[in-house]
Assembly symmetry: C2
Homo-oligomer: 193 residues x 2
DNA sequence: CCTAAATGGGACAATCATGTCTCACACACA
DNA sequence: TGTGTGTGAGACATGATTGTCCCATTTAGG
C-alpha cells in the first residue's frame, strides 16, 4: 500500500468521523495497523500530512487558473470548481486543533485566506460583489458552502457535476430570482434601516 | 450549579471541540466532574439533552411566527433570525452519531427538515426561490450558512446584529448585485450548457 | 533459488476518558 | 446547634486508543 493510498483512506474515514482511530483508518485502507504506523509514526503526523496535502492541492489547483485572462468572478468560479471535491478535508481542517497549533499549517492556511480575501476585494472593485457585504462574511460563506456542496454530493442529495455550479451560483447570485423586492422582506424590523 | 448552566457550558465547549471530555465540560461550568455526572449519568445523556433542547428551542421559536400573515420568504427570514444564535448546537448535531441512532431525536430532526422543505417549496411557489435549484441544496445551504453565521459572530468577524440579515440575504439574493451578467461567467465550460 | 524489504498479526505498556464510589466540607434550614 | 442535601476532590476499575516491538509470512528482485 502506497503512502498516497493510506492518505486517501484516512481522508475518507476522517471525513465521516473526525475522531476515527488509527485502527479504523488502517482497516479502511485494507492494511495492518502496524503498516500505517510505519508510514505515519503518529496520528498527528498523519493528520498533518493530510492537511498539508489538502492545502497544497488547493494551491496547485488555483495556480493553474489564468488569472490575467479572467475576471475576478471567473477566477472564483474556477476556484470553487477546484476545491469542492476537496470539501471533506477542507472541513475537518477546521475541527482539528492541530491546524491552529502547527505553525507551518497555520501560515499556509492564513495565506490562502488572505489570497481569497484579495480576490473578494477585486470582485468588489469590478462590481461583481456588493461592497456592503463584509469580506469576512464572503469568506465564511464560501467556506461553508464548499463544504455543504461536498457533503450534499456525498449524501447523494446533489449531483456531483452540479455541486460547484450551485455553490458558485449561491455565492454570486443567491437562490432568489434577483427580484429586488424579495431580498428585503423585513423592512419593519431590519437591524440597520 | 443548575442543570441549565451545565448544558450551556457543555454547548459552549462542544461547539469548540465536539470531542471534548466530560472533565472539560465540568471545568468550563466551574463544577466538579462528579457533579456533572450527578445531573447527566452518561455523556450520551448530556448530548441527547443538549440536542433535544436545541430542537425544542427551534420548534418554539418557529411556532411563534405568524405564518398566515407573512410570505414564505418572510417566514424564512424569521426562522433564520431565530436559529442563528443556536448555530453552534445546530452543527455538532450533524457530527454526533447519537443523533442518527436515537429514534426520538431522529424523528424530531427529520420532521424539522421536512417542514423546512415544505417552506422552501412554498417559496418556490410564490416565486421567491428559483424552481431550478434543488430543494436539497437550499436546505443544505441554509444549514451551512446558519452555522457559518454563528461561527463568524463567535469569531468576532461579523457583528451579532448583522449575522441573521447577512445569512438571509445570502440565501435570498446572494452576494452579487443581481446583475444577470455576473451570475454566469463560465459559459464556455459550464457543465450543463 | 535466495535474499532483503515490506507486511500482517498480535503482544505489550502507557495513556486517557468513562463511570462509580467514598469522604470531607460547606451551606441552608429548622 | 444539629441535620440533611449538594458539592468538590480524588481514588478506582474498566475499556479504548496510542505507540512500540517482535516474528512469521509474503513479495520483489537478483
Amino acid at each position: 500500500m502506497t503512502r498516497q493510498g493510506l492518505m486517501n483512506a484516512a481522508g475518507a474515514v476522517l471525513a465521516r468521523n473526525p475522531g476515527a482511530a488509527m485502527a479504523d483508518i488502517a482497516k479502511e485502507a485494507g492494511v495492518g495497523r502496524a503498516t500505517l504506523y510505519r508510514h505515519f509514526p503518529t496520528r498527528e503526523d498523519l493528520i498533518r500530512a493530510l492537511v498539508l496535502e489538502s492545502l497544497h492541492q488547493i494551491d496547485e489547483a488555483t495556480q493553474q487558473i489564468p488569472v490575467d485572462r479572467l475576471s475576478a468572478a471567473q477566477v472564483l468560479a474556477e476556484i470553487v470548481e477546484a476545491i469542492v471535491p476537496l470539501g471533506d478535508r477542507f472541513r475537518f481542517l477546521s475541527s482539528e486543533p492541530i491546524v491552529l497549533n502547527d505553525p507551518e499549517i497555520k501560515a499556509a492556511y492564513d495565506r490562502q485566506l488572505d489570497e481569497l480575501g484579495d480576490l473578494i476585494e477585486a470582485m468588489k472593485a469590478e462590481g461583481s460583489l456588493d461592497r456592503a457585504v463584509p469580506t469576512a462574511w464572503v469568506v465564511a460563506a464560501i467556506d461553508a458552502l464548499v463544504y455543504a456542496a461536498w457533503h450534499a454530493v456525498d449524501d447523494g442529495a446533489v449531483a456531483r457535476r452540479d455541486a460547484a455550479a450551485l455553490t458558485f451560483r449561491t455565492i454570486m447570485q443567491g437562490l432568489g430570482l434577483a427580484d429586488p423586492a424579495s431580498t428585503s422582506p423585513r423592512q419593519g424590523r431590519s437591524s440597520k434601516t
